[in-house]
């Protein structure tokens, strides 16, 4: 800690009284006995200190850093700055929070016909469709949806230009029922950016009939519709464990124990998790869902499906309120090019919603090579482009957040059915990459799953019929014709553009070949010695911000007064606690300290100058980038206590 303070005093600003990393510790390292309430207030007021960026600890010793001179004495990883010192001793994969409470606690068990994990577009569409079928056939099935966010919609983040195709099928009267879909797309622009200029290009999209919405709001409305139909939705409960019977069939899930302290002991308000058993279990956790990944691995669903691994991108988004004269409801803009280089796939989006609100975001494909790339910083400097910043000047940021998304498309769809249930939505991966839309396909996959599940429970037909119904639906046709755009960029930026133009204008999706993806994202990170650290501009506090400001003012829901949610075991687990010091830092310069949009991972120098990984788990936005991008796949994202994490309302 002290080492870090001395390094930041290099900066000229006299305001750098507090080290950057002190500003976001919760509770602060320097006074571990502080009562949480007063320290929370201090941290809130100090969160606006902006000084060193996360590259500073590493750049302190730029020359000698990647030399063989690092000490092979990693004995002291033990103390992760006060976060969960006890649990890393658990060997291998830690399946869920069961291990924390020590002795096994007897859990209550509740039975449903269908248990759905995740109240997002796919999960709620499946629930609604199930209840609709029940009404049609005069049958009753109990449907339970568990959601880890504090309320429905709290963990939903998306651009979003919404194609109402699936919603028209599910709830055709959505307009009369006052769905929050009000702004039709009015203009569709596509720019290629250089550092100073914007070159308009023909828009590859056809957004006629689509709407600019907040998916978080739409999902909240879907939740109301589901409850009206009798679906039981329980927000604030995180499904952390999959339940199997003796034949290895999935029989349901169990929620987290709540009220477990950081060291694993039970607090006063300890509440054991609850088992929710379903005749069918549907996983609708969104991209890289933690339980979905477990099921995919266990039942080898990738190999049985379309065969390729999944590839991902990280999207970082802000919702701004801009001045009325700059706002044009329905205006849609996408950009490619600057600030990303030609080896990195990604771009920006800028959508005008209603009430002077503008959604602006930046997406970076996670198969980037340069370990010094910081997607958050790329987003911040993008906003300063002369074609973009005038819009944001004079505006205020309302919300900030980040989430990973699937880019694998058709080639990466896993076989979605396993004994006891199925995977739907982005947990499987139905996003149409060239269209950058996945909400409509996620919803449709939920609806198709509901129809299969209904037939399984009501007539006994096999659940495997879900796969066939997917393959004969418009999801399949759409994803099939979109399958070659993204993989074309494996050949480079301009070849990718050329191939995409060929696909779009000439072949129109009827190409006879299917391109493959490159290496998995985590293997794509090259060694740090091949690159130089990127010198990102400092945020100006008006258009660009540092991570603490974004987090603390615009996104996270902290419960520090009554429920003390920060006092829980860190939900980010290291399979091998020595790897960060042995591999991530010397070989890759600690990329997790850069790609995490919530500054969860920080390397802090201890008294002897060794860099130790500090995990600020309470900052986590549940984006899953670390689970995807960690070079050795050493970081496992597991679900924290329900009710924490971001509190998105208009994202």
């Amino acid at each position: 800690m002290r080492g870090l303070i001395s390094s930041s005093s290099k900066s000229k600003s006299s305001k750098s009284l507090l080290s950057y990393s002190i500003a976001i510790q919760f509770p602060p390292l320097h006074s571990p006995s502080d009562s949480s309430q007063s320290s929370v207030k201090n941290l809130y007021s100090s969160s606006c200190f902006r000084n060193s960026t996360s590259t500073e600890p590493l750049s302190r010793n730029r020359n000698g850093f990647f030399s063989s001179g690092y000490s092979r004495n990693p004995a002291k990883i033990a103390d992760f700055g006060g976060n969960g010192c006890g649990f890393w001793r658990a060997q291998g994969l830690v399946a869920g929070a069961r291990s924390f409470s020590g002795e096994p606690v007897s859990r209550e068990s509740l039975n449903y016909d269908v248990v759905i994990v995740g109240a997002g577009p796919a999960g709620l569409s499946a629930a609604i469709r199930l209840k609709q079928l029940c009404r049609e056939k005069d049958v009753d099935l109990s449907v339970c949806v568990v959601e880890k966010g504090a309320e429905v919609g709290a963990h939903i983040l998306s651009g979003n230009v919404f194609e109402p195709r699936a919603l028209n099928e599910l709830l055709p009267n959505w307009k009369q029922e006052e769905a929050p879909i009000h702004v039709p797309v009015s203009s569709d622009k596509f720019w290629l950016l250089s550092k100073t200029r914007a070159f308009p290009c023909p828009s590859p999209f056809n957004n006629r009939g689509n709407y600019v919405i907040s998916l978080s709001q739409l999902v909240r409305w879907l939740g109301l519709k589901a409850e009206e139909l009798g679906v039981e939705i329980y927000p604030g409960f995180a499904a952390s464990e999959i339940l199997y019977d003796t034949t290895d069939k999935v029989i349901g899930i169990a929620t987290n124990d709540m009220g477990v302290a950081k060291d694993g002991s039970k607090k006063d308000n300890f509440q054991p998790g609850v088992e929710l058993k379903g005749r069918v279990t549907l996983f609708a956790e969104g991209c890289r869902g933690s339980l979905s990944e477990e099921v995919i691995r266990k039942f080898n669903l990738r190999e049985q499906g379309q065969g390729q691994h999944q590839t991902y991108a990280l999207g970082i988004k802000e919702v701004w309120e801009v001045s009325a004269d700059k706002h044009q409801a329905g205006s849609v803009l996408h950009t490619l090019g600057w600030p990303l280089d030609s080896r990195t796939y990604g771009g920006s989006f800028l959508y005008h919603m209603k009430d002077r609100q503008v959604a602006v975001g930046f997406v970076v494909a996670l198969n980037y090579h340069n370990p010094f790339l910081n997607p958050y910083e790329e987003f911040q400097r993008f906003k300063h482009h002369p074609a973009i910043s005038p819009l944001l000047e004079g505006g205020t940021v309302l919300e900030y957040g980040a989430r990973t998304l699937n880019e694998g498309g058709y080639q990466s769809i896993p076989y979605p059915v396993f004994p006891g249930g199925a995977i739907i939505g982005c947990s499987a991966g139905f996003l149409n990459v060239p269209k950058i839309k996945g909400s409509h396909t996620a919803m449709k996959s939920g609806m198709l799953a509901a129809e299969s599940v209904f037939r399984t429970l009501h007539e006994g037909s096999p659940l495997e019929a879900f796969w066939d119904s997917l393959k004969s639906s418009w999801i399949w046709k759409e994803l099939h014709s979109a399958r070659n755009y993204r993989p074309a960029f494996e050949y480079g930026f301009f070849p990718g553009l050329a191939l995409s133009a060929l696909e779009h204008y000439i072949l129109k999706g009827r190409s006879p070949w299917t391109l493959k993806h490159g290496r998995p994202d985590h293997e794509a990170t090259a060694e740090a010695q091949l690159f130089r650290p990127i010198d990102y501009p400092k945020p100006d506090g008006v258009i660009s911000f540092d991570v603490p400001t974004s987090l603390y003012r615009f996104s996270l829901s902290f419960r520090s007064n009554t429920n003390h949610d920060h006092d829980q075991p860190a939900h980010l687990r290291l399979r091998d606690p020595k790897i960060p010091e042995l591999v991530n830092v010397p070989v890759y310069a600690g990329p997790e300290s850069r790609y995490c949009p919530a500054r969860v991972y920080e390397y802090v120098a201890d008294e002897s100058g060794h860099l130790k990984l500090q995990i600020n788990a309470q900052n986590c936005l549940h984006c899953k980038a670390c689970d995807i991008k960690d070079p050795k796949q050493n970081i496992k994202w597991t679900v924290p206590e329900g009710g924490g994490g971001p509190a998105y309302t208009i994202m």
Binding site: Y234, Q271, R553, T562
Partner: protein, 265 residues
């Protein structure tokens, strides 16, 4: 007034606790002022039970679980969505809930009058409230209702001990000078402060059971209360942005600034 032991234990064993709870903007939300400055933006904003009301409800539940009370009734006054907050209260363990529906703005005195009518009907032995609501920070309702009922009050409670035999509540209050201990004859009004307890999580099975519990609905007219207020909110604005601090080089400069710029000397 001390009654005989047997009558007292019979009465206390059937003592009812009433807890008043308020639905407010969730404390973690960053609030924004509406562009027309008429108030704070509440649409698309997460609402939840006032944290101090949670503490009050938790205390009531603990008293019931220790056998000193037989029933906990949660009450709330406000628009239709208050039902959600009452359901959370039922899920935490309250036995019954009463919702007095009123969609407009409510001030502490109106709430106190409504609560008085409910107290007269339900006859609880103890009325618990949070010390203040985090949206208006009024810190008045508890005190006002104690005045209307002419009941003793123990506000800012950080510890509550009930002596059911003698029908006395011993309350430690957090006051500016430290802690003050009061003995209150029951029935009494107690408002709760932060360090009284840590509220429990509502468990999933309890949330499920609470969905089917009945919430009694009333309106102010049912209670013969007319809601009127002598207060009118004229404008709500953001506080002025804090200016950067200035580092001064001498005491003389400080005095000069205090005299001429801040004009406090």
């Amino acid at each position: 007034m001390r009654t005989t032991t047997s009558a007292a234990s019979r009465e206390t064993a059937s003592m009812r606790i009433m807890v008043a709870i308020k639905r407010v903007i969730d404390y973690a939300v960053k609030i924004r002022v509406k562009p027309d400055k008429s108030g704070v933006e509440t649409s698309n904003v997460k609402m939840s039970m006032n944290p101090f009301c949670e503490i009050a409800l938790e205390e009531a539940l603990r008293i019931k679980e220790s056998g000193r009370a037989s029933e906990v009734v949660a009450v709330s006054v406000g628009p239709a969505q208050c039902v959600d907050t009452l359901r959370t209260g039922l899920a935490m363990g309250a036995d019954r809930a009463i919702h007095v529906e009123f969609p407009g703005t409510l001030y502490p005195l109106s709430i106190a009058k409504i609560l008085k009518a409910l107290v007269d009907a339900e006859k609880p032995g103890l009325l618990l409230l949070g010390k203040q609501a985090i949206d208006d920070d009024c810190n008045q309702t508890g005190q006002m209702i104690a005045g209307l009922l002419k009941w003793p009050q123990g506000t800012f409670a950080s510890k509550v001990v009930l002596d059911e035999e003698n029908k006395v509540a011993t309350v430690d209050r957090e006051v500016d000078g430290g802690l003050e201990t009061l003995c209150l004859d029951l029935p009494a009004v107690i408002t709760t402060d932060l360090r009284l307890n840590q509220p429990r999580y509502a468990s999933l099975p309890n949330i499920m059971k609470a969905k089917s519990k009945v919430i009694k609905k009333l309106t102010p007219q049912d209670l013969n209360i007319e809601i009127r207020s002598d207060l009118e909110v004229v404008q709500v604005t953001d506080p002025p942005k804090r200016k950067a601090g200035v580092i001064l080089s001498s005491v003389d400069e400080l005095i000069d600034k205090l005299k001429n710029e801040a004009r406090v000397l």
